[in-house]
Symmetry: D2
Amino acid sequence: MVISSDEYRESLNDGRIVYYRGKLVENVAEHLALKVPVNHASSIYDLQADQNYRGMTCYNDDKLGNISSFYRIPQNTEELMQRHDLIYETTRLGRGQFNIVKAIGTDAIFALMYVTKRIDEKYQTSYYENVMKFYRYAAENDLSLALAQTDMKGDRSLKPSEQKDPDMYVHIVKREKEGIYVSGAKAHTTQSIAANELIVIPTRNMGAEDKDYAVAFAIPANTKGITMFARPLKEVETVQNDKLSVIGRKNVEVETITVFDNVFIPNDRIFLNGECDFAGFLAMMFPTFHRFTALSYRAALGDFLIGTGKLLAEYNGVAGKSNIRRNLSVLIKYKETLKANAIAAAYKCSYDKSSKLAIPNIVYTNVGKLFANENYTEVIKNIVDIAGGMVATMPSYEDFGNSDEEKILLKFLTARDKSETLDRVKLFQTLREFISSFGALYLAGMIHAEGSIEASILELNRSYDYSGSIALGKYAAGIEDHL
Amino acid sequence: MVISSDEYRESLNDGRIVYYRGKLVENVAEHLALKVPVNHASSIYDLQADQNYRGMTCYNDDKLGNISSFYRIPQNTEELMQRHDLIYETTRLGRGQFNIVKAIGTDAIFALMYVTKRIDEKYQTSYYENVMKFYRYAAENDLSLALAQTDMKGDRSLKPSEQKDPDMYVHIVKREKEGIYVSGAKAHTTQSIAANELIVIPTRNMGAEDKDYAVAFAIPANTKGITMFARPLKEVETVQNDKLSVIGRKNVEVETITVFDNVFIPNDRIFLNGECDFAGFLAMMFPTFHRFTALSYRAALGDFLIGTGKLLAEYNGVAGKSNIRRNLSVLIKYKETLKANAIAAAYKCSYDKSSKLAIPNIVYTNVGKLFANENYTEVIKNIVDIAGGMVATMPSYEDFGNSDEEKILLKFLTARDKSETLDRVKLFQTLREFISSFGALYLAGMIHAEGSIEASILELNRSYDYSGSIALGKYAAGIEDHL
Amino acid sequence: MVISSDEYRESLNDGRIVYYRGKLVENVAEHLALKVPVNHASSIYDLQADQNYRGMTCYNDDKLGNISSFYRIPQNTEELMQRHDLIYETTRLGRGQFNIVKAIGTDAIFALMYVTKRIDEKYQTSYYENVMKFYRYAAENDLSLALAQTDMKGDRSLKPSEQKDPDMYVHIVKREKEGIYVSGAKAHTTQSIAANELIVIPTRNMGAEDKDYAVAFAIPANTKGITMFARPLKEVETVQNDKLSVIGRKNVEVETITVFDNVFIPNDRIFLNGECDFAGFLAMMFPTFHRFTALSYRAALGDFLIGTGKLLAEYNGVAGKSNIRRNLSVLIKYKETLKANAIAAAYKCSYDKSSKLAIPNIVYTNVGKLFANENYTEVIKNIVDIAGGMVATMPSYEDFGNSDEEKILLKFLTARDKSETLDRVKLFQTLREFISSFGALYLAGMIHAEGSIEASILELNRSYDYSGSIALGKYAAGIEDHL
Amino acid sequence: MVISSDEYRESLNDGRIVYYRGKLVENVAEHLALKVPVNHASSIYDLQADQNYRGMTCYNDDKLGNISSFYRIPQNTEELMQRHDLIYETTRLGRGQFNIVKAIGTDAIFALMYVTKRIDEKYQTSYYENVMKFYRYAAENDLSLALAQTDMKGDRSLKPSEQKDPDMYVHIVKREKEGIYVSGAKAHTTQSIAANELIVIPTRNMGAEDKDYAVAFAIPANTKGITMFARPLKEVETVQNDKLSVIGRKNVEVETITVFDNVFIPNDRIFLNGECDFAGFLAMMFPTFHRFTALSYRAALGDFLIGTGKLLAEYNGVAGKSNIRRNLSVLIKYKETLKANAIAAAYKCSYDKSSKLAIPNIVYTNVGKLFANENYTEVIKNIVDIAGGMVATMPSYEDFGNSDEEKILLKFLTARDKSETLDRVKLFQTLREFISSFGALYLAGMIHAEGSIEASILELNRSYDYSGSIALGKYAAGIEDHL
């Protein structure tokens, strides 16, 4: 059963502990800054109610009834492509800003389905049943979910169990009959404040000595012992009344440091509990699903940049210049290479019979992701090269409210045609916000989210099947006579 | 009916006029250097007779019987992927070297099918029938084909009709009842000397004043008036007895400057004759098909480089180093990005009802092609970085024939393990040839073949559908309220 | 005679017309936001009074007495290197932020000296005398100067005189006996609000039809008819009380759109008046001087980034990793390549006897500048790659004021060592501000300021002396027998 | 006393053991292939006799008389710049090909002077005296020298003393009263066959267990026990009669694997003998000098590429196109960034009082060197992009000897103007050779010679003085109040 955006927003007023700029937040949905990420999240519920988008955002499941399409378990290339389109289109409808609250959780659930089947097989556990029970609960109640993976890590040269402070990685502090208690903290938990439930998984492989750190579970965001510290949303705060800035008033997500202080996890919500040999496998399988998602939303972000770049080139009157064409081709290549890798990942997916789901091809999710990480700043360079210096030095929206000033400014900001001047100003303003207020978030996000460049390179080397290439290398060098 | 490689080789002894190093060649199939490209081409016929590869290389057509799979007209994503696999695998079987003789001709035929349908519609001509007749003839006789597109061009700042010397672009010099006479020359015609027929198409768009330059046709390679000037094959000549070099003795293609001196083209072999408004369209449609082919063979070349790089990294004992992993990831990205774009081009193909064929998606063929052009030297940098200086300074194969010397050299060239030393030497030798004797060909080919970087950027800007991106740009900037 | 920073700040309370966020500013030195750029500018006066820096910032001129070192006219390599050091060190003392108010004006004055000598020679004008008079006035009164070059440009495909609105480029609207009247507007005038005088020069070459646009002059910032519209200083506004952010509270510059509405320029302040054949020459000579300045301040910015990156790498505990070393090497290369080009520009300077000044080598100023433009985003990518996601998602300074919260956050933000945690937080915060609040300014500035990438490429091609290279090309190819 | 090129060539007929293509070479100066590198080396002697170049190539030393300028010990910036110019100009006179035979040896001698002073100080040895004696001998007899540093290395993951085969690094096998005996082999010894003496130094740092590997010395090339295995010179062999190729007939160097089999080194020729703590220092100091040399000769190579690129752009008629300007700017940036770093290294040199020599600045030698390594393939991409496909597919020189053929080819190879056609052909031919026959050598050389990319990054991180940057980072972040 899908719910309304009002029901969703109300569900967040549940006593959760959130700090924003040093103050405890009473109700995130009504907080001056945090309501923007909540509203952004809620728009995904609005689309379920919108007859133009219902076909895309809702899915009628045989057993679960009318659920969010995000909760549909993909079975083949076509359904993976539908998931890609769902993420791509909802990101476009979010003005190029990803809407994570159902995507990331289902990525994690799919990975958990796949991995827990294998844990259960080896250890006769029943985690898969727990995952499926949680999945049905979340789908049937149309929940929003956040995923907490990256630990605080402390000294990067030490393993979890070697840290001076054991809380540097989330870990089990006590085991009881009904469940376990966990402590620690996770960084960069996107939209935790707007999620009904938090899913927690390990961030790396673990040895036997790290047994207590091999833990995965799902738990409501208002569970006792959970505290979230939000980053400051300057991109929201500084445009409250800025009529020239839309994204900062409507389409922003927020991250938290999420602290777990002796939090109780009941048995049926535990998905990994000390099986350390599966920690790394789970830590790697989640990104395989989530990088497919990343390719999809980043392609939509790319689309926003292409549109903005093309419009600025035209309004500036330089669209036909050779160097500007080259700039635009960089933007196109970025978006379409991500899309091509998403398509290839779907086309070359594998089907896991035990967990009954289609898995995006790991080579293409990684190649696409690595390309996205490595080339984002090149994209920014090219769009700024198109835009020119005015993207930085344009006066503020208030200068366009004062009629005398506005008249002078519109006169002088006219480029190709007077009728386009205000639109040109809006584009400059939007791009300025994107590369300033949003700048740290996007730079860090596009370079680090879903795994850093080095992590992607490691994973690509680790998972790549070199056997065919090596056979060809030997054949070509005359080491072997046949391929 | 597919033919044998012996029949194929014999078919080339047809009196064609070929110059090699200043001398007229009697029979290309027996010429000391040119027999290598002929034999390379003939291997595609051998694969048709090989029971392991027959299933891939042959296709049973309802009307034409057992034909080469290259001649199969793709109808959908799956058949485009089969064509991709065909090109990819035959290139791998050619030790990473493309085997062009059926691929490029069918790319041209498909483009001609598509374009002539439209010319016929506008001008009530019957070119499509000519194309289909030629197609059936070529398929039924299992012919090898070459494609001549790039004109000599003379002064690049002038149009064809503005050139001092009118022969700088191939053009019609006389029109008679039974056909036309053409003169001019085409550059870089790959494997013309190994082709039964040459297909000629325009290299650019033409205005009304360039009417006589808007010409396309197919003609046997031994037609009177055709002279081919081959490039020198140093990669072949210098390894005649070099037991450490396989590719140069077996898998080389050759290009010619192909001169047309008053060559008669009979009416049923003409595909364009003065309809200047279609010259540019044909010049652009051929690459759409051929760039899909290019992505396919270049991915196989990438596979060769991955295998060679990975083996060298392992033999050198450095495969686990962070910087070497980074090098290898560049090779993987190269190959797999090309493959991802090929898959996306097939998956997002369009079907043309009038000419009854599936057309690869132009965005992905261009994005993939541009990526291939722009990043090839980066790939070379990375594989050389892996290999180390010995790729240049290793002694010659003769030094390994002399037993005393060989003993010393094998002692000192041992890296990880003695058992691998000779294989390591072969890899160095193969890579050395690849970046030296083959160097100019590959650099020019990978940067210019199937269209230069600037041409690809132009085409990408021209053909890209910006409308969705622009809508998003306006919506995100608040210029429009809805997407 | 150098003045105090108090005297300087008072001098700005002169009735100048400045708009900030839609409001007329009474006194820039006391305005909540604008006082930060004023104070930043004033620090250059403080350094003149500081005994530790007096030796560097002041110079005892034979005729002018004790003046700012910026006003010293360089005579040779050594003095150019002193100017480089002056700019480099004052930028470091500004926490990596350039302090433009004396540097840019003297760059313009030096260019004007050089160019007006040549105009006078051709047209028997006396502009050089005007320039020198202005120079002495500015030096003796220790003035701050702004330079307005980039016009609003309107339709980029049209020349100044072809624009629909003639005001798109600053131009002469009336000529009278005592002087001229000018109208138009200039974009991106840095620190105009903190300058005593504005120097105005053309932005491009001009034909005879653009005669009235060939104009250069200097005029007090409070001259009737001048209106300045400042960009909004979010980097200042949002850190007013932010104890973790220093740069935004102390070291910011501001740009304006500077409008000229029928502004009177007295004869002795005119440096170009219709001599259209010198407009392009002046437009090009100023950057030659100013790009030398740019290399100097950008090297200091690079130093800030190296320090920040190195500290973050160490605090994060990853400084010894191969990929982090690679990141750091990118930062080092950036700074030192700029410095190397500055040194080479000074070492290979030329001396102009007529205007009695040393001119930095144009090849190195352009090569260095182009490198700076093209590689800035690569630098940002690498420092963000070092920093990790926390650079975006760290809580705000207020979260560190609340003692309970602070305790938890400091626990979890500890990496290598507890004693470094707060310093680590400050570095994250500083870098976050740098790539967000400062982001648009820096991206636009580093890519466009002192000339865009395309402009630099054009200039490099135009000014490069190819003769030696061509001689070598011909000799190497056997076209010529001797070099 | 400088000698004549005839005397030099005769000096090489000394019984040295050289293998070329499996055969012992009787006299390198008369060998069909090896005479080319010998003649190239000898041209440096011709320039000493040429009155136009004598001023540059010869130097009148107070004590040693008229010696080669290469042997002049630089004392300051000016003399380092003279050395830079000497290398730069002699490389240009070698058609862009470095002439190593005096440059590399003196680089090694300077490094040995510096390092042995410190060894002697610590260990009361007298190596400095040995070095100076060898220096005077070499200078007075105008010797050519080769430098052997890179060991064969075997398993890269093991230290010298850990290798299965102890000969993988050159080492001391026996110590006697009059001297020591060494065995092992060195790779990539450039122009050893054309050198009178070989200087041998360690390739890496050594621990106590590698004591016997810490050895440095100089020894005549014909010393008993030395065997050299040359790489095959295809760039020479294939152009013996090629009138269109000059470089391959005149300006080629050769590398050998240089094997030492129980070679006796007399005491006065030993410069390091077990002082393992100085092995790494010497291994690092030599590159500091030699990278300065590398910047100088590579700038000249860059000049060759600029000239070739510019001429091809003009002959092709495309020099004015935006994308071609961009290509050319890449070539210019390459050369001039190397030159800028050379100038900066000279300008910021340090003077060592103990060994009485000026040392190029290590930051700039490394930054420039790293830039040269990392960007070479980008340069190649850009020149090939300018040249077009004809650089690969042009017929051979023999096709231009046959008058009928030549007539046709010259007709069709005419671009901008008929008078330029043959020159255009020569440029294509020269560039083709450069990127094919010379390809492996240049790719490996430009990426690996004088230290690989990873080695340069390591060295840059190791030697960079971060203290000023760190101070600025702390000051900017508010960690420290003062700089």
